[in-house]
C-alpha cells in the first residue's frame, strides 16, 4: 500500500533529526527510523504513520543522543574570550601606571560626557511633556521698525479668543500673562504667604497638560472670583491639598477668592512655573486697555488642528492686527510658533529665528565630545606607544596562527573592558557630582537606570571602546610577525605622525578651552563691573503691596524710612532698573519721521529717585520740590536726545500724551537692561504712583538696617511680608545663563586639560623608558641635567607649539562670534591668546618635566647594566 506520496518519511522531522542528533549516530538512527516508518505505514494510514514517526523523532531528544550544546568550535570562542580577558587583566596589572592614567582619564572623560548628556537631555525635553505638544502654538508679533524688525511674545489681549473664534484651524485659544509671574500675598486666617502666580483665560488647563488634582479643566477658571492653587501652595495654606477646594482666601488682603481647583506642582521640565492661576478676567476688568488691539501685553497660545499648514496659517494671520486697528498698526505682524520651540530657539534677529538656548546646548555637546575624544586619544596613544612592549606577544600569536581578526578583537575587547571599568567609575563620579552640578545648572537632574539609560550606557561603552581601541587594534594587528620577532621593527613614520597628530589635536582642543574660559570669564566680569550709569550697590527694590499702593501711605512710610539710621535715601519708582518694562511711541518732536515708531522707555520717578540712584545729569537739572511746575516736566536720556536730533533741548516743550511737557534735563545714558541690549531712548517723568519703593542702605550695616525696615514695614503694612531684592543681585541674575556657562566651562576646561596632561604624562613616561639607555650613555659621557631635559622635551614642545598655532585662530573665531551677541563687550586683546598659549605650553612642560626629572635621575649603571 505504498503510494508515491508516502514513499519517504516526512521531511521536516528528518531535518530536525539531522539538526540535533550527533553526527556519528546519524546514519544508523536515520536508517532505523526509515525502517520504522515503513513498518508503520503497513499498519496505519499515511497520516497516522507520519504522526507516529514524528513522535518517534521527538522522543529521540535524549541527552546522550543530541549534540553537545557547545560544540568544539563554540569552545574556542569561549576560550579565546577568557584568554583575552586574562591577557587584558594581566596587562593592566603589569602596567599599572598607564592603566591608571587610562582609567582616570577615561572615567573623568566619561563622567563629563554623562553629566553633559543628562543636561542636554533635560534641555531638549523642556516643555515637551504637554499632551498637545505637537499642536500647541504660541502667537507672537513681529514689529517692523524703521531699520529693523523686533520680535515679541506680547500680543493684543483679544488675539487668542478672536483666532479661536474666527479661524477654523484653531480649536482652543488661551490668553495669559506668562511673562509677569509676580509674587503676591495670599492669606488664610493668620497665614500670609508670598507666591507667584499668573492670570490666564478659561482653557489654560485644557491647552497645557498641567494636571488638575481637583476641579475640572473647563470649569476651574470660569468664575472671575476664583483661584486655582498648586498642590504645595494648597498644602501650605490649608495644611492638606485635598480639602482646599471650595475654601476661601484673600489675595493681597483685599480680594476674597474661592479655591476652584488644585493642580499638581508645575514640573521642572516646564518653562512656565507658577504657584497659582487667577482668571484673566479678574485682571483685565481693571486694566481695560488690554482689550484694545492697539496695545500689546499678554501672551497668546493656540491649539491648532492636526495637519494645519503653518506657513499658510501664518500668512492668513499676518495682517490681523492691521485689520483690527483699521490700518493704524500696520507694523505689527502676527505669526505662530510651536510653544516648545520657544525654550531652545527663543532668539530672533530682524524677524528671523537665530540662536537662543540651543546655542548652549550645541556648545556643551561640543565640549562633551571634545572631552571624550581627548580621553580616547589618551588610550590610543598609550596603547600604541606601549605596544612595543607587547610586540613579542603579538609576534608569537601571529606565528601560532592567530588571525588578524582575532587580534583586532583582542584589542577591541581590551579597550571595551577598560571603557566598562571606566564607566562604572564614571557613574560613581556622576552620582557624587550631581548635587553640585544641579546647583550650578539650576536643574533637578538625576540618573535613573531605566532601559533607555542602560542602553545609552552600553552604547557609550561600546562606542568608546571601539573609538579608543580601533587604532591600536588595526595598527598592531597589521604588523609582520617575522619583523616583530627579529626585533627589527621600528616605529614607522606614519605611526609616529598619527600619535603626534593626536597629541596636537588634544592640545589644540585644550588651548581653545583655555582661551574660551578666560574670555568668557572676562566678559562676565565686565558685565558685572561695568559702570551702568547709576550706582546699583546697596539699593533695595520693594514691590508695593496693600496699603503701599496708596501714594499717601507710601509717602508716610518713605519719610519714616528716611529716619532709620543706615537708610541713605528712599523714593518711589516705577522700574526695577533691570528690565525694559513700559514703552510709548507717542512722543512728537519737530522733524519726526511719521514712519518712526521708536518706543521710548518710560520710567515714572519720584523726587529724590535720580539722586538716590546716583545718576549723572548731562544737562539741566533733576526733579526738585523747589519748582512747582515739575509735575509737567520730563527728563530724557542722551540716547533719546540723539535719536530726536535735538540741539539744546533743555527748556524745550514737546507734544506727548496730549500735553506739552517741558524738558528740564538730560540724564547721562544708563543701562536699564542687560548689556546684550543697546541703551534705548528713555523718558522720566515725575510721579508718586510707581510700583516700587527703592531704598539705599548703608553698606556697612546692611543687616540691621534691613531688620529695621522690615519692622517698620510690618507696622505700616500689616498682613504683608517685606519682600525685597537688591538691584545688584537682580542685575547679576540677568546674566544667570552666561554665569552658568562660565562656571561650567571652567570646570570642564579644567578637566579637559587635566586629561590631556595625563596623556602627555603617559607619553613622556613611555618615551623616557624607551630612551633609558640613551639617557644612561649620555649621562656617562657627561651630559648635564638641563641638556637632557632639553633633549627629551623638545619633541613635546614642538607638538604643543603646533597645537597652539592651530587652536588660537579657531578660538579667536569662536569667541568673536560669542562676543558679538553682546551690545557691549570687551575687546579680544592679543594677550588673552598669548597668555593661553603660554599657559598650555607651561602646563605641558611641567607635566613632561615631572616625568623627565625622574628619568634623568636614574643611575646610568642601573639602565646600562643589563642587555
Amino acid at each position: 500500500m505504498q503510494t508515491p506520496e508516502h514513499a519517504s518519511p516526512p521531511r521536516w522531522p528528518l531535518a530536525l533529526l539531522r539538526f540535533f542528533i550527533r553526527d556519528q549516530y546519524l546514519e544508523e538512527i536515520e536508517g532505523d527510523l526509515e525502517e520504522v516508518y515503513f513498518e508503520l505505514l503497513e499498519e496505519h494510514s499515511g497520516r497516522r504513520a507520519r504522526w507516529l514517526y514524528t513522535l518517534e523523532v521527538i522522543r529521540l531528544f535524549r541527552p546522550n543522543l543530541v549534540k553537545k550544546l557547545l560544540s568544539p568550535t563554540h569552545h574556542i570562542h569561549l576560550d579565546m574570550f577568557k584568554h583575552n580577558l586574562t591577557i587584558s587583566l594581566r596587562s593592566y596589572w603589569r602596567q599599572k601606571s598607564s592603566f591608571l592614567i587610562n582609567l582616570i582619564g577615561l572615567s573623568t572623560g566619561l563622567a563629563c560626557f554623562l553629566l553633559i548628556t543628562l543636561w542636554i537631555k533635560d534641555e531638549l525635553s523642556m516643555d515637551k511633556f504637554h499632551t498637545h505638544d505637537k499642536q500647541l502654538y504660541q502667537v507672537m508679533e513681529h514689529i517692523k521698525g524703521p531699520n529693523s524688525i523686533g520680535t515679541s511674545t506680547n500680543t493684543a489681549g483679544p488675539v487668542a479668543a478672536t483666532l479661536a473664534e474666527e479661524m477654523p484651524e484653531v480649536s482652543i485659544g488661551v490668553t495669559a500673562r506668562t511673562k509677569s509671574i509676580n509674587p503676591n500675598t495670599l492669606s488664610v486666617g493668620d497665614v500670609n504667604l508670598k507666591a507667584k502666580g499668573l492670570y490666564a483665560t478659561e482653557d489654560l488647563f485644557r491647552l497645557f497638560s498641567f494636571e488638575l488634582l481637583a476641579g475640572s479643566a473647563d470649569q476651574v477658571l470660569a468664575d472671575p472670583n476664583s483661584i486655582v492653587l498648586s498642590e504645595s501652595l494648597a498644602k501650605r495654606l490649608f495644611e492638606r491639598a485635598d480639602v482646599a477646594t471650595g475654601k476661601s482666601l484673600e489675595l493681597a488682603h483685599e480680594t476674597a477668592l474661592t479655591v476652584a481647583g488644585v493642580f499638581k506642582d508645575t514640573p521642572a521640565s516646564s518653562s512656565l512655573r507658577f504657584d497659582y492661576v487667577l482668571p484673566f478676567e479678574s485682571w483685565s476688568r481693571e486694566n481695560t486697555w488690554v482689550n484694545e488691539w492697539r496695545n500689546s501685553h499678554p501672551q497668546a497660545f493656540v491649539l491648532l488642528n492636526e495637519g494645519t499648514d503653518i506657513d499658510q496659517f501664518n500668512e492668513k494671520i499676518a495682517g490681523y492686527v492691521e485689520r483690527m486697528t483699521e490700518g493704524e498698526d500696520s507694523h505689527r505682524q502676527l505669526f505662530v510658533r510651536k510653544f516648545s520651540d520657544n525654550y531652545l530657539y527663543g532668539g530672533f534677529e530682524n524677524g528671523v529665528q537665530s540662536g537662543g538656548r540651543i546655542e548652549y546646548v550645541r556648545l556643551f555637546s561640543l565640549i562633551a565630545l571634545f572631552i571624550l575624544m581627548i580621553a580616547c586619544i589618551n588610550f590610543m596613544n598609550l596603547s600604541t606607544a606601549r605596544a612595543t612592549r607587547r610586540l613579542k606577544e603579538i609576534g608569537v600569536k601571529k606565528s601560532m596562527g592567530a588571525t588578524r581578526a582575532s587580534l583586532i578583537s583582542q584589542y577591541i575587547s581590551e579597550s571595551t573592558l577598560l571603557a566598562f571599568l571606566s564607566c562604572i567609575v564614571a557613574l560613581g563620579i556622576v552620582i557624587a557630582a550631581l548635587p553640585t552640578f544641579n546647583l550650578i545648572t539650576n536643574k533637578e537632574l538625576w540618573i535613573s537606570l531605566d532601559p533607555y539609560t542602560i542602553g545609552f550606557l552600553v552604547f557609550t561603552i561600546l562606542g568608546t571602546g571601539l573609538l579608543a581601541g580601533s587604532y591600536p587594534a588595526l595598527y598592531l594587528s597589521s604588523l609582520k610577525p617575522i619583523l616583530i620577532i627579529k626585533g627589527t621593527l621600528k616605529s614607522s613614520w606614519g605611526e609616529v605622525l598619527v600619535r603626534k597628530g593626536l597629541v596636537v589635536v588634544q592640545f589644540a582642543l585644550s588651548v581653545i578651552l583655555i582661551v574660551s574660559v578666560w574670555v568668557v570669564y572676562q566678559q562676565i566680569q565686565f558685565t558685572q563691573n561695568k559702570h551702568l550709569g547709576y550706582d546699583r550697590d546697596n539699593v533695595l527694590i520693594i514691590e508695593k503691596e496693600g496699603k503701599m499702593e496708596t501714594p499717601e501711605a507710601a509717602q508716610t512710610f518713605l519719610s519714616e524710612l528716611r529716619r532709620i539710621p543706615g537708610v541713605q535715601g528712599a523714593a518711589s519708582i516705577d522700574n526695577t532698573m533691570t528690565n525694559s518694562d513700559w514703552r510709548t511711541n507717542s512722543v512728537e518732536w519737530p522733524g519726526k519721521d511719521p514712519e518712526d515708531r521708536t518706543a521710548f522707555e518710560i520710567i515714572q520717578v519720584d523726587y529724590d529717585a535720580i539722586e538716590l540712584l546716583d545718576m549723572e545729569m548731562a544737562d539741566g537739572r533733576t526733579f526738585s520740590r523747589a519748582f512747582g511746575s515739575d509735575t509737567t516736566a520730563i527728563i530724557f536720556n542722551e540716547a533719546a536726545i540723539r535719536h530726536m536730533g535735538l540741539e539744546d533741548p533743555v527748556g524745550m516743550r514737546l507734544d506727548m500724551w496730549g500735553g506739552t511737557p517741558e524738558i528740564i534735563g538730560v540724564v547721562k545714558d544708563f543701562h536699564y537692561e542687560s548689556l546684550h541690549e543697546e541703551v534705548d531712548p528713555l523718558i522720566m517723568y515725575l510721579g508718586d504712583r510707581g510700583r516700587y519703593l527703592t531704598v539705599r542702605v548703608d553698606g556697612q550695616r546692611t543687616k540691621s538696617t534691613i531688620a529695621a525696615i522690615r519692622n517698620l514695614y510690618q507696622e505700616a503694612n500689616p498682613g504683608f511680608v517685606l519682600d525685597y531684592n537688591f538691584i545688584d543681585d537682580e542685575y547679576a541674575a540677568l546674566y544667570a545663563a552666561e554665569n552658568r556657562v562660565s562656571t561650567l566651562s571652567r570646570y570642564f576646561a579644567g578637566l579637559a586639560i587635566l586629561i590631556s596632561c595625563l596623556g602627555l604624562f603617559g607619553l613622556a613616561m613611555f618615551s623616557a623608558a624607551q630612551r633609558q639607555k640613551e639617557i644612561g650613555i649620555r649621562k656617562v659621557l657627561g651630559a648635564s641635567y638641563i641638556q637632557l631635559i632639553r633633549l627629551l622635551s623638545l619633541d613635546f614642545t614642538r607638538m604643543v607649539g603646533i597645537a597652539i598655532l592651530i587652536g588660537l585662530p579657531i578660538s579667536y573665531y569662536l569667541l568673536r562670534n560669542w562676543l558679538n551677541t553682546f551690545a557691549f563687550s570687551i575687546d579680544l586683546h592679543w594677550y588673552f591668546f598669548l597668555g593661553a598659549g603660554l599657559l598650555a605650553l607651561l602646563i605641558a612642560w611641567l607635566t613632561v618635566l615631572l616625568q623627565m626629572t625622574q628619568a634623568t635621575r636614574v643611575n646610568p649603571v642601573e639602565s646600562l647594566r643589563n642587555e
Binding site: S8, D32, F61, R62, N64, L65
Partner: protein
C-alpha cells in the same frame, strides 16, 4: 562483589542483543522487546540504552549491510562484549541469591 551499574531496561536490551545475535540492530531489538514486553517501546529509548551501554563498554558495534528499506543506510549490528556478558551473569547471580534468601510467598486468602 562490586555491583556494576546497569539499569533494568538496559539489562533487557543487552539480553535481547545476545538473543538476536547477528540480527541485533536497532529496529530488530525494538521489535523483539515490544513482542516480549507486550508494550510499545520508542526508538529513542532503545537507541539511548544502546549508546549508554556502548559507552560503558558492555556492547560493541559494527556497521552491517545497507538495505533498500532503510533508504540505503547501513545497519549497526550490536554484540555483547565479555564485560557485558559478565555483567549479565553478575546480575543473574545477585537476583538468584536474593530469590533464595526470600521466604516463600504467603498467600492470604482470608
Amino acid at each position: 562483589m562490586k555491583v556494576t551499574k546497569i539499569g533494568e531496561f538496559e539489562e533487557l536490551v543487552l539480553m535481547t542483543v545476545i538473543v538476536l545475535q547477528k540480527e541485533a540492530y536497532g529496529v530488530a531489538i525494538r521489535k523483539e522487546l515490544q513482542e516480549r514486553l507486550n508494550t510499545s517501546v520508542s526508538v529513542g529509548s532503545v537507541q539511548s540504552a544502546l549508546k549508554r551501554m556502548e559507552d560503558k563498554g558492555y556492547l560493541s558495534s559494527e556497521f552491517g549491510e545497507a538495505t533498500a528499506k532503510r533508504g540505503g543506510k547501513r545497519k549497526k549490528i550490536y554484540s555483547a562484549t565479555p564485560t557485558g556478558q559478565a555483567v549479565l551473569v553478575q546480575m543473574k547471580e545477585i537476583r538468584s541469591g536474593l530469590w533464595n534468601a526470600m521466604p516463600p510467598f504467603q498467600v492470604d486468602f482470608s
